[in-house]
């Protein structure tokens, strides 16, 4: 697993965990960035531009460090 902030442009993964405080967790859940969702990094420069469920989000680097993403090849199975 890697933090979303460290993923490369164009790479995909599955959201596994939100680390850090309850505030960030609630916010991300409410916005639809939840466990088991596939997330694609469209751009990474300062903030990240990601797509989840067909919606694009700008995510600040600080918050993106708290989103742990599974980028392993057999991620769909787990």
């Amino acid at each position: 697993m890697v933090p979303l902030a460290l993923m490369k442009e164009g790479s995909k993964g599955v959201v596994r965990e939100i680390v850090g405080g309850r505030g960030a967790y609630v916010k991300l859940q409410e916005m639809g960035i939840t466990r088991g969702k596939e997330i694609k990094v469209l751009r990474s420069s300062g903030a990240l531009l990601v797509a989840v469920n067909g919606t694009k989000f700008v995510v600040g680097r600080g918050l993106a460090m708290k989103v742990m993403v599974d980028v392993s090849k057999d991620r769909e199975k787990s």
Binding site: G23, A24, V26, K27, L28, Q29, E30, M31, G32, I33, T34, L42, R43, S45, G46, A47, L49, N53, G54, T55, K56, F57, V58, V59, G60, R61, G62, L63
Partner: protein
């Protein structure tokens, strides 16, 4: 009957409110356009219905977010007769999360499945009847901006909605449930890459993104100054004519008309800047700009969200400071507000025009551009300092990209008018009163200005500005400019008879120092009121004033001294 409208940001709640009530509420295409609740009254079949449009919210649990708190408190305390839950059809799963949460309040609900047209374009079709059965409440498909489904929605509103039959308690259960329901009622087709996706690829490109952003900004500024210039000339002409017409009454012609007129001439510039920004905002581009500029802003301790308020500051700092509300992170929000007055608003332009014309003929544009640039630099470095020493802690931000939409004329107008209005109000009240005050101060007890009250005040203050070599006339103009920067030129006009007469009073270096000082010192009264209202703190309001004066004095002194060596 009271109906509360609740939904995610940017799903078209306000557009729907306009469609139902025939109202003219401002809509945007930038998450968080509605930052306060808005009320609209309408009659459906003779029944009076009061609609309360709550700020967009993704959920109701995060009370640290002001928007969510407003929405939640309203439902809890006011107990509306009906909740109209506006849902974005192209993003059903996420929107249903909020719907499930709303059900816990035990109020009757109607779901308006809005933006079904945009969903179709994305290949998404939703079985709204099935959705209604699962939820146990009425679901109406709508396209608010085209009035589709609005009549049916009105009928359903009169019927009163239903309480819903699903009850899930925890956040995790709600997420699962929302996913499950969305899966059951959604049919998805694969569609070709949309135009929006293509635009995003270009606008957010690593190399192209920033040049495109600056190109748009450049266009906006050319539009502001070049396209508006005939209107400026026209207003100027009318004011001169009016002033001559009333020349028998100097308090009206030299006081009120000249004073208020000197402010009114900027209205076209301000309005045109806001038209340009409204188009960028309504089209959806502004959200892309937030992403593009984030990296740069982050270096100064801000984030991409601060870009829009900073740009708006070039028009007028008052609406700009209000726009900062959309920044969730409290520290970043306050810093964005506090540094905003350094962004050179259009009211300061006439000062630069006057001084650059009188002292730097042939290089006016360069000097004026330098002022704007200096303002931006001071704003950014002040932000950096504040973030480093006062408002510490890393901000977190996340923002959804809105879809691209073609701006409608009416919406551009509403957005522009709402922002320009502040400026006009200022002209009608503060500037009007000040014009009369200045006229009296300059005409009594002696009509020779140097022996009038204004002259005395100028002489009294002048020693403070002596290091920069500014005489009593300029010192007086600065004091008057506390109220509004437009008043600086106005005062010089009244005191010197003709503002251009300053050419004989200063050296170029002193003039440059004066321009720097007017750029940076003391936000105008209207801006101060906005700072107080938005920071909810006297401490920070006073800080904004004293910090501004300190920076202004220091930099003006340095510029004057250095300039003296160069020129």
């Amino acid at each position: 009957m009271k109906v509360a409208m609740v939904g995610n940001p940017n799903v078209g709640k306000t557009a729907l409110l306009n469609a139902i009530t025939g109202g003219d509420f401002i809509i945007g295409n930038f998450p968080g356009t509605t930052v306060e609740k808005k009320e609209g009254k309408g009659k459906i079949d003779g029944v009076e219905v009061e609609f309360i449009d709550l700020p967009g919210t993704y959920g109701l649990e995060d009370v640290s977010s002001p928007d969510e708190k407003i929405a939640r408190d309203y439902i809890l305390n006011e107990k509306p007769d009906l909740i109209l839950n506006v849902v974005d059809a192209s993003n059903l799963e996420r929107n249903l999360y909020l719907t499930l949460q709303l059900m816990e309040f035990g109020r009757p609900i109607i779901v308006a499945l809005n933006l079904v047209d945009e969903a179709k374009k994305k290949g998404i079709e939703i079985d709204s009847e099935k959705l209604g059965k699962i939820l146990g409440m009425p679901v109406v498909e709508t396209v608010a901006v085209e009035n589709i489904g609005v009549d049916e929605l009105k009928r359903k509103i009169l019927e009163g909605g239903k309480k819903g039959i699903i009850h899930v308690k925890t956040l995790e259960e709600r997420i699962e449930k929302a996913e499950e329901i969305a899966r059951k009622v959604t049919k998805k087709k694969v569609v070709a890459k949309s135009v929006g996706d293509m635009l995003d690829e270009v606008f957010t490109d690593k190399y192209l993104g920033i040049p495109i952003f600056f190109a748009f900004m450049w266009m906006a500024f050319r539009f502001t100054y070049d396209v508006a210039s005939p209107l400026v000339t026209l207003i100027d002409l009318v004011i001169t004519q009016l002033s001559e017409l009333f020349s028998a009454y100097p308090v009206i012609s030299d006081g009120v008309i000249t004073g208020v007129g000197s402010v009114l001439v900027f209205v076209p510039n301000i309005a045109f800047l806001f038209i340009a920004l409204a188009i960028l905002e309504l089209s959806g581009y502004m959200a892309r700009a937030v992403f593009i500029m984030d990296k740069t802003m982050e270096r100064f301790g801000l984030n991409g969200r601060s870009v829009v308020p900073l740009i708006m500051g070039f028009g007028c700092n008052v609406p700009a400071i209000m726009a900062a509300r959309a920044i969730e992170d409290k520290n970043a929000r306050i810093v964005t507000i506090l540094v905003n007055p350094f962004i050179s608003c259009s009211a300061r332009l006439p000062i630069y025009v006057l001084f650059a014309g009188a002292f730097f003929a042939g290089m006016e544009s360069a000097v004026i551009m330098a002022m704007y640039l200096l303002g931006v630099l001071v704003a950014l470095f002040s932000a950096l300092l504040l973030r480093k020493f006062v408002f510490k802690g890393e901000g977190q931000f996340i923002m959804e990209f809105p879809s691209y939409r073609f701006p409608r004329l009416k919406d551009v107008w509403l957005l522009t008018w709402n922002r320009t209005k502040h400026f006009l109000q200022k002209a009608g009240t503060v500037i009007f009163a000040m014009s009369i005050v200045i006229w009296f101060l300059t005409n009594y007890p002696s009509s020779e200005i140097r022996y009038s009250y204004a002259g005395m005040l100028g002489y009294f203050i002048q020693p403070i500005f002596a290091p920069m070599g500014w005489g009593w006339e300029l010192s007086l103009a600065l004091i008057m400019g506390f109220v509004a920067k437009e008043v600086v030129v106005e005062t010089l006009g009244i005191v010197l008879g003709n503002p251009a007469a300053i050419a004989g009073l200063l050296t170029p270096a002193q003039a440059l120092g004066f321009m720097v000082f007017t750029l940076l010192y003391m936000p105008c009264l209207a801006t101060l009121a906005a700072i107080k209202a938005e920071t909810e703190s006297w401490k920070w309001t006073i800080f904004a004033v004293s910090y501004g004066i300190l920076i202004a004095y220091t930099l003006a002194f340095i510029v004057t001294a250095l300039g003296g060596l160069i020129f």
